[in-house]
Subunit: 478 residues, 2 copies
Amino acid sequence: MCPSIEETPTNGAANGHTNGNAAEEFTPIEARPNPVPHHKSSPYQPVGDFLSNISRFKIIESTLREGEQFANAYFDLEAKIKIAKALDEFGVDYIELTSPAASEQSRLDCEAICKLGLKAKILTHVRCNMEDAKIAVQTGVDGLDVVIGTSSFLREHSHGKDMTYIKNAALEVIQYVKSQGKEIRFSSEDSFRSDLVDLLSLYSAVDKVGVNRVGIADTVGCASPRQVYDLVRTLRGVVSCDIETHFHNDSGCAIANAYCALEAGATHIDTSVLGIGERNGITPLGGLMARMIVADRDYVMGKYNIKKLKEIEELVAEMVEVNIPFNNYITGFCAFTHKAGIHAKAILNNPSTYEIISPADFGMSRYVHFASRLTGWNAIKSRADQLGYNMTDAQYKEVTAQIKIMADVKKITLDDTDAIISAYHHNIVNGVKKPLLEGLSAEDQAKIDAAEEKLGGVKEKRQLDAEAAADAPPAKKR
Amino acid sequence: MCPSIEETPTNGAANGHTNGNAAEEFTPIEARPNPVPHHKSSPYQPVGDFLSNISRFKIIESTLREGEQFANAYFDLEAKIKIAKALDEFGVDYIELTSPAASEQSRLDCEAICKLGLKAKILTHVRCNMEDAKIAVQTGVDGLDVVIGTSSFLREHSHGKDMTYIKNAALEVIQYVKSQGKEIRFSSEDSFRSDLVDLLSLYSAVDKVGVNRVGIADTVGCASPRQVYDLVRTLRGVVSCDIETHFHNDSGCAIANAYCALEAGATHIDTSVLGIGERNGITPLGGLMARMIVADRDYVMGKYNIKKLKEIEELVAEMVEVNIPFNNYITGFCAFTHKAGIHAKAILNNPSTYEIISPADFGMSRYVHFASRLTGWNAIKSRADQLGYNMTDAQYKEVTAQIKIMADVKKITLDDTDAIISAYHHNIVNGVKKPLLEGLSAEDQAKIDAAEEKLGGVKEKRQLDAEAAADAPPAKKR
């Protein structure tokens, strides 16, 4: 799953996505002839797994359906159109909308979005009954996602119907929707707490009457990855239609479950922007991109306009009045920030060492954080180099030790680090003892002096070095 | 993996954790005799998987090591002590600290935390060399987690050592640390991009000299759940010691990978509070709790003081200056908020229908959001009941239709919904036509009137109903 260096050029230039003008450069690829996943780089990867769809998945983007069920979401028509257009530019395969039976405005919004002429197919998500199906067909959508609860929980506490009733309702709705020339998906709800025999019997019946997709939904967010793999693989042997999957994230597996579903032969993944939905939501669009670009970068880069991710997330975050999580996939503020000294050194040598995703692919930047006690002398050397200072390795090591001492005493910023490097260089060149950091409190200065004394007279050594440096050819500012 | 209703009482009272006085009520359980995971409720769950440790895992909490590598983290000794004490009260098995070789203050902090007398064992995380190991042993820690990069990336771009060198260094360090009476773990770094034969050969060698644990680390966050399962299961057959795992979350699988590792026989999981660490971090403590309480509620509730989760997350979030993500596991503001009408109805009947985790277990509350166009009449009936209004089903349905109309026109709040229910009830009882919502703009009122007209004269019907109600025995406020 983890491509080798050759497979993931981390230099954005290699794929022509460097000038930020992504819309023009973006070249979608059409359905590719069953590419075999790239499992070469790791010796214990499955080799040529023909069940797997990780290199030919489709996205059913549900921000305008599942996302509308998010606590803070209120999308008026203008907001919905903005989101739909942004998702269409991103290149999602389907856009799913709230049921037109939910409210009159929901119906009108559905009609309006169908008229936008987007490239993405428009779906609406309705209960599995003829009344809702008829309303939905009349809105002009390309297809219907119908759903009914099949778990004992839902049959008892929600709609109260038995499996025979469910099957008959499903067959009637499917035949009607097909007769109207629309795509139709039939999904159970809470699939992972439904009886397996009931489920397979139902899916087999709807497959026989020509449903386009069946859906597996982890409505409560309880499923685990290997459980998902087993169910989807079993289902793959029972139906010949496509398989859509929908995963809630209550127990933290929504992205992993989507991935395992694709490995087992699922074809479509439901997502929403930032994962918004009921409770803490579903598989996030950005998180799925993070997962899939690691699995098959060519497919993701060729099909989706991933440089638009940040813009779409910011649009939706503003509308639903949330902050983008600090640790959000790809676009979180620290997603590409490296801090530990041993990390920083290797990242400076070759970003692939500690980065499985190239920030440039998403129009993002890498940041190596060296203003801390965890820094290492290679990171400081690299920074000094950026600042135009040229010193010996012994000098880089010494200024690094000084920076660690400062960082032990107070939280230091990038500016502080630069100031220390600069003052240290100045002292060497001029043979003086200017303080390395200005404006320290007496208390902090005392702590620093104590730390220096403890470290075996580093301070004295600095002076001696400075004197030596005054005699030797001075280090130059380039 | 998904317990049945009987296994997860959603009423907090059933487990004695209702008065918030969690510390006194908390009864830790000691290492239990190999409990068999509860896989009964789902027919396609593995039955009695004896490899699995999902019911006897241990936590190595690394907020004070991995977490210190988070972009925003600067923990002084006072902060470290607060975090260590909070984690100890939570009941984590181990607390891992930054290497004492990182800086002088890091060493002093390490010594200070060892002297706190915590129940948790104290570890420090050092490079695999004698110099670091000696410094670490002298701090008074209970054990050392040593690490060295084994992938070709790290061998080439980080330390530049070959496998023979690595093995010899490992054996020397392990034998020294054991001779000092300390626990020792040996981990590779970037394990999922290392050569499998190299890895197994190395782990086998360190196991033979009596290492306490070997570690698998997905340093770059590239591993997928089934890949993790395969590697850990293979390793389980090669070594007899414990297996620790460490997963970064770059591609969204850190929780799922931890879970699959436990299924395959891993014994220890690394976590940090809110997942903070390099880049977007590792398996979060709270997210792991969400996953594991679904897998084995008894174990989690008996061993960890999970009602402290929110307090610990708030403590760390404040220290590293981040907001708790809106969609955070368990403690995010919407983690237990239900919105869609069809969800709300079932949740009101039985929370297990749409909740796999009981909020009461974590001292949190459920919230059913019915102030939206997605609401349903069962939710509104339940709210009217809470407000003390008693109406007929037809009346509940009508006021629900009115609420949907309002919610189509503007974002309505809980207060708005209550006001509409109240005014509607008032109109019925008094046979009048008071506006259902005060203070609407003329524009909004016009939209509402148009919507009502369109919906087949709902407004007129309301008047007729109100008149009928004036004749009939009036609905009463209880």
